[in-house]
Amino acid sequence: MTTLRLAAAVRGPGRTGPRGRPVPLLAGAVVALVVLAAALAPLIAPHDPNAVDPLAVSLPPGAAHWLGTDDTGRDIASRLLYGARPSLLAPLAVTLAAGTIGTALAVSAAWLGGWWDRLVTAALDLVFGFPGLVLAVVGAALFGAGLPVAVATLTIAYLPYVARVVRGSALRERHLPYVAALRMLGLGGARACLRHLLPNLAPLVLVQTATAFGYTLLDTAAFSFIGLGAQPPTAEWGLMVAQGAPGLLAGRPEQALAAGGAIVLFTVACGLLGTALSQRLAGDRT
């Protein structure tokens, strides 16, 4: 569903964000901190994230358990730290795969043209017609629930957002005089592509994938939340929100709120960082 908004963001007027210098700096700090916490989870987590303790079920936050425990007695803070790993790695995999495959498709389509270009364009249009989450649900129905399937289907869903933009840019680039000049020098198509076209497209690919990352994070979390992504007992943020939801009614909202808060905080920070990055790469055109 968030893929839609990404599409709309490409179409519609851009949203205005804060432009001051401290904001990207703070956002960068948040992102770095979360990534560091994920990497060092085994060192800093106070407990084993999967250790059930029947004697310490649904405890409120306290000295032993900073955020309390869930309904099987697992330490929420530790699960939050460990949960950062799949929560960040899965969308990272989606973004990297969609970025790489999308760029390869786009550049080859723009470079070769003809039936290959038409086929790629038609296929991308078809994928564009599916809401990303629905595509992932169908994938789960066919291949079974789990993070690997979620990553694969979301990668397909995000292909058009990278490929469409890159193809347009590659087409423009391909018709610039320098490409013709390179060919006259006897440079082969593949080498001209790799050595000259790709480096010129790199900033665009970077911006597209960086922007998509936040959205893929929300989509994978949503997918785990509805039970089709990460499977228990894995600690993952979307799944933690779902597992914490019953606690809301029982007066133990810590798990749902902490995991939800982590998702929002990290996405906002990523979004701000992405905006700052794209502004820098685009140069100050204003």
Partner: protein
């Protein structure tokens, strides 16, 4: 707006739906193992007699295109097969649930269109502090994913304040709407924020545009300037994102129905996917993609009708 344009859009829509249905049906044969196993649902291999029956019923031994044609014509006649997991026809399963989903989406769409555009217009016209406040609030809302806003709304309004019910569907229209209020809010929140931001920006752009200045310079009363020039001209982009939002609600409703225990087709889709009940998933995926494509096409046509700046297929004088 010409007949030619409408025809072209209709044909494009048809082509998209055909390709999508082919993809949805073909997906069945991408999965490992016997597709009959998937159609039975449950992921376990059923007994050979049942498998043979499934093969016969779904024409699984025919050539692919014949099978596809059978399936597609069945869909068009309202025959979407049988869900063995539910021991019920797929058409009946969907029919009994689609009302809830339709009401939820209609409710959320209304919220988006009314509140989102009103907030955006207010911010765009007033500017200054109002605009800053609206931009900050909507910027925050946009970053909150649907399922997190659902959790927050349940916690705040159902648990802490006890104003609205958190689960269930309710009886009678008024009670159903009461039960749908939190789900609709959660579903609409981030889209509403998005529509508000685009509206603000569109209204703001028109406010500073030269033709609006001309209208002011001619002494046209301010309310007419706002209505006939600012809002009328901003309506194109607003309509366009509102349409994208409504299309987005269709996909987002699965998450919300699941969270709030609503018995709609979105929850059915998720549950069927978890059970690998393919007959239901295929039918619902096709339904969702159709609704999605219809809304997008309708919005494109409406936007073109609102904006005459680019004559569509018409001759220039």
């Amino acid at each position: 707006m010409t007949a030619h344009y409408l025809l072209r859009r209709a044909l494009g829509l048809l082509a998209t739906l055909l390709a999508a249905s082919l993809a949805i049906y073909g997906g069945l044969f991408l999965a490992p193992g016997d597709p009959a196993t998937l159609l039975v649902g449950g992921g376990k291999p059923p007994n050979p007699a049942l498998l043979a029956e499934i093969h016969r019923q779904y024409h699984l031994d025919d050539p692919f295109l014949t099978r596809y044609w059978h399936w597609l014509t069945g869909m068009l006649h309202g025959d979407a097969g049988t869900s063995l997991a539910h021991h019920d026809s797929v058409a009946h399963l969907i029919g009994s649930r689609i009302g809830t989903t339709a009401l939820l989406i209609a409710y959320a769409s209304t919220l988006i269109l009314l509140v989102g555009t009103a907030l955006g217009t207010l911010a765009g016209l007033r500017g200054g502090r109002t605009a800053t406040a609206v931009t900050a609030a909507t910027g925050t809302l946009m970053a909150v994913p649907t399922f997190v806003s659902a959790v927050l709304l349940i916690w705040l309004f159902a648990v802490r304040l006890g104003w609205l019910p958190a689960y269930g569907t309710g009886d009678g229209l008024a009670d159903r709407l009461r039960h749908l209020t939190l789900p609709a809010l959660a579903l609409a929140a981030s889209w509403l924020a998005y529509v508000a931001q685009v509206t603000r920006s569109a209204v703001h752009t028109e406010q500073g545009s030269e033709h609006v200045q001309t209208a002011r310079g001619r002494g046209i009363p301010e309310r007419l300037v706002i209505r006939r020039h600012v809002l009328r001209n901003a309506s194109g982009p607003i309509l366009s994102v509102a349409g994208v939002s409504v299309a987005g609600l269709i996909a987002g409703s699965s998450v919300i129905e699941q969270t709030f225990g609503l018995n709609g087709v979105g929850a059915l889709l998720v549950q069927s996917a978890a059970r690998q009940d393919l007959a239901v998933v295929q039918a619902l995926a096709l339904l969702t993609v159709t609704a999605f494509a219809l809304v997008n096409t309708a919005v494109d046509v409406a936007t073109a009708a609102l904006d005459h700046r680019t004559p569509i297929g018409g001759a220039r004088p």
